[in-house]
């Protein structure tokens, strides 16, 4: 796109989306709006590790949960204001990523996936047995039920995350370096990269926004417990959304999150008699996507566009893709 740089377009889109809560004030719609944004944030942060760096984090939800619990503890026990609590939630999640990442990132492939899953489960157990987190009873936050407020806050957090990731992964060399690690980690050493440091940076980068989102979630829903914030469900859905959309890009997971969430909500709101079929349809849809669209929806679209451009200009696909 000539003329304005990408980041201006992104800001424009965010601003346009920001106008929506001002106009559509129905509280239920605003809840859906906020939740959709939340999933976009979780999907793109997961993609940082999975799509760009090539490391499957099956415990990504742990950052969300840690952020939620941190914010809840700070709000309830320290009387901290919400904004600061959520920010600290992100910080603590980042610290968890830093501390656990350094040893965990030595694991490769399936080992890393299962290692992170074990970490997530371990933290879940911790929340379940500690008194301070309320154990299985969870924690209840003072209610602040303002749908517009949370819609804008979530938009601000996720929008800022998207912008930051865009700048770091698509504009700056950082993204290319991560992709080099994804393609050939040992080879990347040969070209002078430091994979250990880069991976850790990516890990922390994926954790901090997820933690902030968790903090916002806690204050928004007013109730958190181990199964809803540190269970597998958060990670599972983020993974599915990112894959639907297409890994290795930022737009892919955004589309995946929106489409998947819309489908899920429609099903839930209007077809609740068939809710039990949801699992079946979801499972088959996931399997079908992997089978027919391994690059995800966005991946398939960009592939077609590149193909068409190549045809028009008589280029090879490689030339058309610009690599």
């Amino acid at each position: 796109m000539r003329g304005r740089p990408a980041w201006m377009w992104i800001l424009l889109v965010i601003a346009a989306v920001g106008a929506v809560p001002a106009v559509m004030t129905d509280p239920f719609f605003l809840r859906l709006f906020t939740e959709a944004l939340m999933w976009i944030g979780l999907a793109i942060t997961w993609d940082v590790m999975a799509g760009y760096t090539g490391y499957l984090n099956f415990g990504h939800g742990v950052f969300f949960g840690v952020g939620a619990y941190t914010a809840a503890l700070l709000i309830i026990r320290a009387g901290m204001p919400f904004g600061l609590a959520a920010a600290l939630g992100g910080l603590v999640a980042g610290v968890v990523a830093l501390v656990s990442g350094w040893p965990t990132l030595r694991l490769r492939g399936a080992y890393f996936a299962i290692g992170t899953w074990a970490l997530n489960r371990a933290v879940g157990q911790l929340a379940l047995v500690l008194e301070i987190t309320g154990g299985p009873d969870g924690m209840r936050l003072p209610p602040f039920l303002r749908p517009q407020f949370f819609a804008w806050v979530m938009l601000a957090v996720v929008g800022a995350t998207f912008l930051a990731l865009w700048l770091l992964l698509e504009q700056a060399p950082f993204g290319l370096k991560l992709k080099a690690i994804r393609e050939d980690e040992s080879g990347s050493l040969a070209i002078g990269l430091n994979p250990a440091r880069l991976k850790l940076q990516a890990f922390v980068l994926s954790a901090v926004p997820a933690g902030i989102i968790g903090g916002v979630y806690a204050y928004w829903i007013t109730f958190i417990d181990p199964s809803s914030t540190l269970g597998d469900l958060i990670t599972d859905q983020a993974v599915v959304m990112a894959i639907f959309g297409g890994l290795g890009t930022l737009i892919g997971p955004v589309i995946g999150a929106i489409v998947f969430f819309a489908f899920k909500t429609y099903f839930w709101a209007y077809l609740s008699d068939y809710q039990v079929l949801y699992l079946i349809i979801l499972g088959l849809a996931i399997a079908a996507t992997v089978f027919f669209l391994p690059d995800g929806f966005w991946g398939a679209v960009t592939n077609r566009l590149e193909g068409r451009r190549a045809l028009r200009k008589g280029l090879s696909l490689g030339e058309a893709a610009g690599t």
Binding site: A50, T104, L107, A110, I280, L284, I286, A287, A288, P294
Partner: protein, 295 residues
Amino acid sequence: MLALLPQAIVDGVLLGGIYLTVAMGFSLAYGVLHVIDFAVGEWIMLGAFAGLAFTEWTHLDPLLSLPAIFVVFAAVGWMLQPLLQRVLSGSRGRPVLMALVFTFGLALAIRGSALTIFGIFTHSLNTALSQGSWHVSRGSFFLTVPFIRLAGLVYALAVIAVLNYLLKRTDFGLAVRAVAQHKEAAGLMGVDIRRTSAAVYGLYVGTSAMTGVFIGAIVSLNASMGPDLSLFAFFVVVLAGMGYLAGAPWAAFLLGLIQSFFLIYFNPSYVLLALFTILYLILLISPTGMFRRGV
């Protein structure tokens, strides 16, 4: 409390036996086909329900259904494998990740279908061995060994022995090991990769289904039991080193013993926390499994 030591060891080993039944087919499948099958728990669940159906129709002991269940499910696995292969050999995308997500979707679909067809309640399989136990007490030494749990352990070790024989002493096993080591080279040497892969996957699904019958008899069965079983299968196999079948029993027993000792000698509330933490730490010290023989 020292008097409980023998019992703690036996309970731990028997518990490990259960984990082994869950993990052994899965270890084989990964080692050869390099596919992490998220649906392993669902195959086990289906096998358990097949055992239940068998008992309800024939009024015979569920353990008698094992051969039939193996054959049926092995055939299912055989037919399903080419589909999986297509996903794994995709030219675009990341094969390992794609296979993982594919089997994840499959697992969801299977679980949803099971919930719809079988409902939500928990069932139990009753066998001739279900209630007996071998009990000895001499002075301050005492030990109780439930028959059905012992049967589970025996089954697991028998399957491992058979698999070991197959892999080390038969031509088929040679082909399997060749495919596991280097698929292209094996193909060049005349191995029919497609048939071998399908056979391995069939073996895996068949044994997993048989395991379901044991789990249903030792513990219980319901349509949602899959994910927890998959989790333990993963843990055992990762701990042992993925693809290193001989390591699986040790890893399974270790996990069983840790649990047993923790439950008896420490605070049971923390048992899973301890388990996950220990698993995590072992992985960190030895990233390719505790014997460093993983792929």
